[in-house]
Subunit: 147 residues, 2 copies
Amino acid sequence: MPEAPGVAAALVRLSFLVQSVYAEVCSQHGLTPPQAQLLCVVSECPRRMSELAPMMRLEKSSLSGLVDRVERKGWVRRVASPEDGRAITVELTAGGRRLADAFHARTTERLTEMVACMPPDERRAFASIADQIVSEHAVPVVFQDAP
Amino acid sequence: MPEAPGVAAALVRLSFLVQSVYAEVCSQHGLTPPQAQLLCVVSECPRRMSELAPMMRLEKSSLSGLVDRVERKGWVRRVASPEDGRAITVELTAGGRRLADAFHARTTERLTEMVACMPPDERRAFASIADQIVSEHAVPVVFQDAP
DNA sequence: CTAAGATAGTTCGTAGTACGAACTGTACGG
DNA sequence: CCGTACAGTTCGTACTACGAACTATCTTAG
């Protein structure tokens, strides 16, 4: 029996805290969390529906609707793939780019503030452990580091 | 400028990872995440609607519907408050208790596995920092430590 | 070259989530 | 005892998510 009581609860509570900050920044930008996630993913580079679905852990039918709504708001565009007549790539519009950047910056700012009370070395240690956990579990890159 | 690039992204990605495990355990128990959260909260003790709403960061109308659906499945019960004729407390049924315990145990197990690769002292350090962040930000207790 | 099967996306029906506004009923203070 | 504050519910709307059924394109075997 590994005596790690509390690790699980700490992870759950921390993740609820982070999600609540994320959701708050979303709503301040007129986004819902799945919409923001989509913008962040295609912000890195345009993607096909068939790539996006597993990255966002959605079925293709769910993704279709999400892209519909985000496209209707004018933040992304569906572009036919030249290589494959069946495929479509989703890319940011200029407005989508601005919104994605603003959202990303503000979220980063809010979360950085949140851990500002920690001593810098502890903060770095914490970030590196978190990164390690994440990278050992094949999490799709859903929120990039600032370049 | 505090040079903590990466902390924010690490937090976001970690929280998406934890949420995906949480959601997976939910669906294995026939629950949705908000339903599981409700069970975990009232698992500690029965609560009024007016207490639950802020704990779960929901408007009262949203909570009403959530409790409806969970009650329809037979996992919680609405009980009139003897002290206040307007108020209602939400409590687990026997089946709800079993489900909440099973869900909690399995989630704890899955998340503990997830960090099992870390050396024990690092794991403890990580948990204590996470706890510290959480407790500095007034997060409602949405997932208890094992008793 | 073409028929069969695989792949990419969409549409549709259903259920759950979340909100605000409007509503009912109880409690309480003046 | 009346007015107001409070506790919950209901209703209409929008978003999220799924699976099944569908269209259209690509690929491959014969």
